[in-house]
């Protein structure tokens, strides 16, 4: 079954062609980074308008690259929630029109379910049940994936996402945006015990909830103190200490959750999974606990449409299709 899939929930506009949920024929992403470079300045990166301008071009290019025609498309899948409403609407309306014009089913897909499904593309052998930690600039949540379309959130951040903590810490340390990579690179030269950073305390009764806002504030305070007292800031040490703090709060909770569920497979999804400290700590923890770890390559960790095509296939099998009255939603339960 060939699915044309669309993702437009935030900054990236993406279109892909995926076969039977597992095989990616093409995966087109419109990168705003290229636009920034092209114009040498800031472009309204999240405007729905820019999604609208590129979505049809991407779809045509996807078909050309895969050597397919519109007649080959068996269904159209799109991210319908959650996200920036104007942006999501563009993808939803494009998908609706395409499905209607082609006379094929329309499949709505939850964005986070898509991120989890990126693992199916990277690991053909992976099947539910498994535990998934979704960590990105916008989300940090632990998901119990019981089946392809049956899942629930075990815990999530109460404030900032883990990726946001890296981005904003990078900013006060004078590193670039996005901040994940420069902090990761710098941390390799630093002492991870250089700074005593707080382990985010979470109030409430869910042991799997997380918090990263206090950690961000602690980094801001350290940077400001250094500035005010003219003391040299040990940036590498701070980066290493930050990676350690974030990693410890993620890995510890994930391993506890895996133990509680008694599940063998642990998957990680989202851009923050690229952090080498988090990756190494997960590898070590899974090895020690005898668990199997799945971490998709970076290309599949960020926003993309291939993951929507993957999850879309399983939503279709479960009978989750929609009519022309499908709407886009800014927020939506998983």
């Amino acid at each position: 079954m060939l699915i044309l899939s669309v993702e437009s929930s935030c900054d990236e506009t993406a279109v892909a062609l995926v076969e039977d949920g597992r095989k990616v024929l093409t995966d087109e992403i419109f990168s705003q980074v290229a636009l920034h470079k092209l114009y040498g300045g800031v472009v309204p990166e999240i405007a729905a308008r820019s999604h609208l301008e590129v979505v049809t071009l991407l779809a045509d290019r996807a078909l050309r690259t895969a050597g397919k025609t519109r007649a080959h498309i068996d269904a159209v899948a799109c991210t319908y929630a959650p996200g920036l409403i104007g942006a999501v609407l563009v993808g939803v309306n494009f998908a609706k029109s395409a499905a209607l014009a082609l006379g094929v089913p329309l499949i709505p897909v939850h964005h986070i379910r898509g991120h989890i499904a990126a693992n199916y593309l990277a690991y053909p052998e992976l099947e539910p049940p498994f535990l998934c930690l979704a960590i990105s600039g916008g989300n940090t949540m632990l998901v119990d994936v019981r089946d392809y379309t049956d899942m629930s959130i075990l815990g999530q951040t109460r404030d900032d996402a883990a990726g946001e903590c890296f981005d904003k810490s990078a900013r006060v340390m004078g590193l670039g945006y996005p901040g994940g990579k420069p902090i990761d690179d710098l941390s390799k030269q630093g002492d991870d015990h250089a700074y005593d950073l707080p382990r985010p305390a979470v109030h409430g009764d869910n042991p799997f909830d997380m918090s990263f806002s206090g950690l961000k504030t602690a980094v801001v305070n350290i940077a400001h103190h250094a500035q005010q007292t003219d003391e040299a800031l040990d940036k590498a040490g701070l980066a290493a200490s930050l990676c350690r703090a974030v990693s410890e709060s993620l890995v510890g909770r994930t391993m506890d959750a895996a133990k509680m569920l008694g599940c063998q497979n642990i998957a990680v999804a989202g851009g923050v999974a690229a952090n080498s400290r988090i990756r190494a700590d997960f590898e070590a923890a899974c090895k020690e606990a005898g668990k199997t770890l799945f971490v998709p390559p970076l290309r599949l960790c960020g926003d993309n449409a291939a993951m929507i095509g993957a999850q879309g296939y399983y939503e279709y099998l479960a009978g989750h299709t929609a009519g022309a009255d499908l709407n886009a939603y800014a927020t939506m339960e998983l």
């Binding site: 104007g86 404030d159 900032d160 990726g163 946001e164 904003k168 109030h203 206090g214 801001v220």
Partner: protein, 142 residues
């Protein structure tokens, strides 16, 4: 009015008191540096408005919507925007027309976006966990 809080919890509590009497259509412009408690304040606002929701940072999504109470709360973050024009691009006027409360973090980034009837809340870091919060306009706090 100027308020001093000594913890994230106190900032959140102030936000709850502040939001209790906010009318539909209120625009709350928040100003202040990273880690000043803006998101904590808005989390309190949601509670004060009777919304049972996990309020997380909208930096990545630009706006989070919370419904289920008497009126909705729209939590904006202008951190990644470069000017008022981009706020209009994402449908600012549509949100205004929906009869909710709009709380806007990083209002510094969208000068001229508001029409002068917004309530201004300024956050200043006066210690590692002490914050001075200035509220200009809006109803009296309960």
């Amino acid at each position: 009015m100027i308020y001093t809080t000594h913890s994230e919890q106190e900032t959140e509590a102030l936000g709850a008191r502040f939001a209790e009497k906010l009318p539909a259509g209120a625009v709350v412009a928040l100003y202040g540096d990273l880690g000043c408690g803006k998101t904590a304040f808005v989390r309190g606002m949601a509670r004060g408005m009777g919304l049972d929701a996990t309020v997380t940072s909208p930096t990545f999504t630009i706006v989070n919507e919370y419904e289920g109470g008497e009126k909705p709360l729209f939590h904006f973050d202008m951190y990644r925007l470069a000017g008022a024009e981009e706020l209009f691009d994402i449908g600012w006027e549509d949100y205004l027309a929906r009869g909710g409360v709009c709380a806007v973090e990083w209002s510094e980034n969208v000068p001229g976006a508001f029409e002068g009837d917004e309530i201004v809340v300024r956050f200043e870091k006066t210690g590692d966990s002490e914050r001075e919060i200035t509220i200009e306009g809006g109803p009296e706090l309960c």
